[in-house]
């Protein structure tokens, strides 16, 4: 047992940390602001991703034949946590989800076309699984793909496609076999986002991000742009979701928020008395740091299990996501309770404590227990696959 990084891992963590300090960019890295996706389509962010690519830090765990370094996923974990700690953008869907799935299941053609671009941060993806009737019930996708000469013709609708308004390629699940069962009739496609048959309609959210609805009107996709075997889409998506749950929900943003809260609470006063001396504040903060330590344990547990290779460790990933995202929300709620009336001042204004960071976070973190498989879906997974409870839900 060893809770420390190995000397090599520690050296890498130090290197990344130093690099992020040296390459500090106030536009993409602002500690008073939630960082994960809201800067997604800016030129500054794209430039930052190119710099990360130039360090060869994208796709480190990929096999060497595809441009990776075949090193353990723990290095990607270290990178992701460091990025979050410095309020920098996350490495994103390309390397963690789409690249890894293409490496496992994609044709040579797709690998050649996409993998180098992903490694060089030249391509932005949007992920289209969800539909109005297929959220948690992802296998229920109805977007219809009809076989035509040389490819497929897609008609129907997606919803909740984040980044559809600026992405280059669309990673989409569609129903290719109307007669097969829910889980066996789906296939995965890659579609250029600028296809004239796609219509993107923005959906503003209570967080700062916009997400989108996407309508498909006779979108033709050539056969070469189907991923893997027809009918296997749901299996690929499930694997990709296991990866996403972890890659997209790093703990550091929440750790960083807790750190900011503690720093603020140590100094702040109300009625000329130090806020930190209020027994209720002391209690809330003791609980926040305790639960953060538990969440860290669950994430380390996932990383260590993932290191053994094979499929991503589902139980550990579900437990981590379930616990950490609920905590992330609770930290924001507790922070606003501690800040009182000033807590409501909208993010970005100087009058708000920590420039309203917790006001913004309070709204933004609501989606964490929903997206990427809701808490209830994680509980179903744990109940069935870990505790062996009957398959009735």
């Amino acid at each position: 047992m060893d809770f420390d990084f190995t000397p090599e891992e520690q050296a890498f963590a130090d290197k990344v940390d130093k690099w992020l300090v040296d390459n500090h960019d106030p536009v993409v890295m602002d500690p008073t602001r939630e960082n994960f996706t809201q800067l997604a389509d800016t030129p500054e962010r794209r430039a930052f991703m190119k710099k990360l690519a130039a360090q060869r830090w994208l796709g480190m765990s990929w096999p060497k034949e595809y441009g990776g370094q075949e090193i353990e996923g723990v290095y990607e974990y270290i990178l992701n946590e460091a990025l979050a700690k410095h309020s920098a953008p996350q490495i994103g869907k390309g390397v963690g989800i789409i690249g890894k799935t293409l490496i496992r299941h994609g044709s040579d053609f797709l690998k050649k076309e996409f993998l180098p671009k992903i490694l060089n941060a030249e391509v932005e993806f949007a992920v289209g699984y969800s539909e109005p009737q297929a959220g948690s019930d992802a296998a229920n996708m109805q977007l219809k793909a009809d076989k035509v000469e040389g490819g497929w013709n897609l008609n129907g609708q997606k919803i909740w496609t984040t980044s559809a308004h600026f992405a280059d390629w669309y990673w989409v699940g569609a129903r290719t076999d109307q007669d097969a069962s829910k889980h066996t009739g789906l296939s995965l496609f890659l579609i250029p986002m600028k296809d004239k048959g796609l219509e993107v309609v923005s959906l503003p959210t209570i967080g700062k991000d916009t997400t989108n609805q996407v309508f498909f009107n006779d979108v033709f996709v050539p056969d070469e742009y189907m991923v893997g075997t027809p009918g296997m889409g749901f299996q690929y998506i499930s694997e990709a979701l296991d990866l996403e749950r972890f890659t997209m929900f790093t703990l550091s943003p929440s750790t960083e928020r807790a750190r900011l809260l503690i720093e603020w609470a140590k100094e702040a006063k109300r009625d000329d008395r130090q806020i930190k001396d209020d027994p209720n504040v002391r209690r809330l903060i003791a609980r926040i740091v305790t639960d953060q330590a538990v969440a860290k344990g669950l994430s380390v547990r996932f990383v260590c299990a993932a290191r053994k290779g094979g499929k991503p460790p589902t139980i550990q990933s579900s437990q981590y996501k379930l616990f950490a995202t609920a905590l992330s929300q609770r930290v924001c709620k507790d922070a606003l309770d501690i800040q009182g009336a000033a807590g409501q001042i909208r993010e970005g204004q100087d009058e708000g404590p920590i420039r309203g960071r917790f006001e913004g976070a309070y709204r933004a973190t609501v989606v964490e227990t929903i997206g990427g498989g809701s808490s209830e879906i994680q509980k179903n997974i744990i109940a069935r696959r870990h505790l062996g409870l009957p398959k009735n839900f």
């Binding site: 723990v74 140590k266 740091v289 538990v294 069935r384």
Partner: protein, 372 residues
Amino acid sequence: MNLDFSEEQQMITDMARAMFEEHSDMDAVRKLEDDPKGYSDGLWKQMAESGLLGLTIPAEHGGGGQSLLEAALVYEELGRALASVPHFVSAIMSGGMLTEAGNDAQKGAWLPKIATGEAILTPAWLEPDRGYGPVGVQLAAKADGDGFVLNGTKQHVYFASSADRLIVLARTDAGIDLFLVDPKAGGVEMRQILSQSADAQYRVTFSNVKVSADDRISAAGSGWATFETAMYDGIVLLAAQAVGGANKALDITADYCKIRTQFDKPLGAFQALAHYLADASTRIDGGRVLVHEAAWSRANGRSIRRLAPMAKLFCCETYADATRMCEQLWGGVGFTLEYDVQLYFRRSKQLQLSWWDTPYLEELVAVDVLDS
């Protein structure tokens, strides 16, 4: 980073589990409820022979010299089995205090015997209507000639009736001191107090009890620091015990939910129940990593001023919450004495309230986070 056990650590776990399964099955646990002695000679002897009693006692004093991490593995198993033994009070708390601060004579006299189980020592710490911190220690030790005279009352003194020595926390002119007191000495009286978990604990009164200056552990006024150091290690092990108990209660409850049917379905097919279990399993697994991190940190010479109270706070609360939930899932039978789940339920709350409770632990964490 690597959370795997070494082969040796795995062996300790397996050995402890097998031993407790054999010598502390639920019949044995039930037989010891409210028993004045509170442990069985059979298990005690087995633990001595296998080296578990002296596991953490330094090798030069006849122990195994193992770290808190190995001890945590044993305590998780002890928690699963609800094994009742004076190991915590004797080897961990008393052994810990003597190792930390005892003089050569005290170490030589007691540590080897603790390691073999020949002697049992237990701390006499808490007092009626007083708290967990240093102010709670008010039992008076007045200097008298070249010794001291003790007057006062202690409560929650575990296994006092079997003890060869009590380590009494007392207030002297210098502050708090620790005294090795023979429970058979004149003026010591003890009475068993029945507790929620039906363990063997005593109220001990001291009326003009004489102790010699040689029986003070370490320098005048150093008692609380010595006690606290042992406690920080101790609470990590109690957290491990809580993880073991909670996990076992969850296991038996999940199994019950697979076989008990209502409304033509197994209980586990009702999502309302399955989600309770999924939440509890997540907290238990998370608590276990925290315990390991605390124990590992201690074993590697790091401070555990924050990790240790966090571990006990989180794991004991998880144990109490999880077993209350389990009671709910067993329905009416869980409320009867006949079923085992209540054994875990009662002990979990007792563990949470003992050896620093939730508010005290929260404050320890808050001091470390906010005041440093």
